[in-house]
């Protein structure tokens, strides 16, 4: 006879086992799709980690977009299912001044305050990504005249400007090299869309992927505002064997260095 107690213990253990197994598979899948860091989000998107918790995947932003720029990630695309994204080489963001995609967001995953100054919408504040130039495959850097990305940029001469340089090879021509100012670039992708090379030589990457971070220990000493960052700097002292003596003593210690 199997006792009621054994039956209960076995039943509970079985349920826990199934829960653990499915939990593992489930979280492995979520981990897999969220590990894709190359996804471009609509304007005003909060940082990716919070975005994944906050976006309810309703597609209101996709419906609001008049240029069919945005799509919801479909199964098989290796992106977090149902979240909105765009691929500028196909359709870039047109940077509508009235930003229809942002105010419709019901959850605040697209944060209207990120694209608002003085109570007015300002699409130029958007930070969807940043344009990066592949200078080896950009024909303007070869010396061939092309300013497709520069002309396509909605913030021409601010987000992308041309740097003129003498072409020493020919001796009589100029390079017109496109340079991106990452402080200004919104990541709309009109440059990537316009690029004439077979694979775009200027591409949009998420800012967290493409941009470096100086940290608190290097300061532009000539810039009063930049000095404010020093407040956040922490001081950490490293202690080793050598720290026992004062630095000067260590310098004066000639022991073993000179012949007796």
């Amino acid at each position: 006879m199997v006792s009621e107690r054994r039956r209960f213990i076995l039943g509970t253990a079985r349920a826990l086992g199934i829960a653990a197994l499915s939990g593992l598979v489930w979280s492995a899948y979520v981990d897999e799709v969220t590990s894709n860091k190359l996804i471009l989000r609509p304007p005003g998107a909060i940082n990716e980690e919070d975005f994944l918790a906050t976006c309810i995947k309703c597609g209101m932003c996709v419906e609001a977009c008049p240029f069919d720029t945005l799509s919801l990630a479909k199964p098989g695309s290796n992106k977090p299912l149902g979240t909105p994204y765009f691929e500028p080489r196909d359709v870039a963001c047109a940077m509508c001044p009235d930003i229809p995609c942002v105010p419709v967001c019901p959850t605040g995953a697209l944060d209207i305050t990120k694209v608002t100054t003085n109570n007015e919408l300002n699409i130029n504040l958007a930070k969807m990504g940043v344009a990066i130039v592949d200078t080896k495959n950009c024909i303007a850097y070869w010396g061939i005249q092309c300013d497709a990305c520069y002309r396509a940029c909605p913030l021409m001469d601010k987000a992308i400007y041309l740097e003129y340089e003498k072409n020493e090879r020919t001796g009589k021509h100029a390079f017109l090299k496109p340079i991106v100012d990452s402080d200004v670039c919104t990541g709309c992708g009109l440059c990537e869309h316009a690029c004439v090379t077979k694979e775009a030589a200027i591409i949009i990457l998420p800012r967290e992927v493409a941009l470096g971070k100086v940290g608190d220990h290097y300061i532009k000493g000539w810039d009063k505002k930049d000095e404010a960052r020093l407040k956040n700097a922490h001081s950490e002292t490293t202690t080793t064997e050598l720290s026992k003596d004062r630095a000067v003593d260590s310098l004066n210690d000639m022991g073993g260095l000179l012949d007796d």
Partner: protein, 277 residues
Amino acid sequence: MTSIWKNYRFLILRRITQIGLMLFYVGGNYWGWNFIQGNLSSSSLFGIIPLSDPFAALQMFSAGAVMSANLIFGALIITMVYMVIGGRVFCSWVCPVNMITDAANFLRRKLNFNQIEKKQPASRNTRYWVVALSLVLSYILGVTAFEFISPISITHRAIIFGLGLGWAAMLVIFLFDLFILKNGWCGHICPLGGFYSIVGKVGLIRVDHDEEKCTVCMKCKEVCPESQVLFMVGKESLQVLSGECTNCGRCIEVCDDDALNFSIRKLAKEKSKNENN
């Protein structure tokens, strides 16, 4: 003609609401109709009234998201509506997956699979475990865990926004219900159904069984996707009070004896009064 209407009236009405709603959503996306826009996760009715999936909102809360007023309000509206009409009305009258699992169930009956596989090897309480697991994983992973895999969302997004590999999810559910487990997805696993079972416990619209008229033909139990809720059939005149009843009305249609009907929930006091008399 009248007998078709009599035998399938709720089924026909359910298909009209399910397909009609999807049509309005598709119109909202492609042709800018503003009756209802978005999808079943979150929508806006007439461009003003917010509606949100309360289970998704709960996962967001568990994942540590900042909850917007719009979202909370939308989730409350939906919760209250289903508290009144019965939580799992969502399952049988709105959810598009219902059409897939109903089709699998229909085939099962026609092919007599239910006679071969009489015992179902899984507990219907699994769904409550999945509800708990969804919330725990949302907390641990910091994302809305079930929304990342939900075949319901995959299906309605596929209908409204385009297919992708969404058909694979639909096919898997169909085959699972057809060959592996009777009422497998909707009746055993789906945490959204589990969540709405809890919400719908207090629902006011209830199927009522009249034992005196019942001839114990058991057609209702044969067709019911949650047949455990009909435990009283042929035994006792009771209302179906389990939250797991989806109010699909199939039992009412197949009953030749008028022993089952929709009714308004009797309040507890009245019931005890009747028992005392």
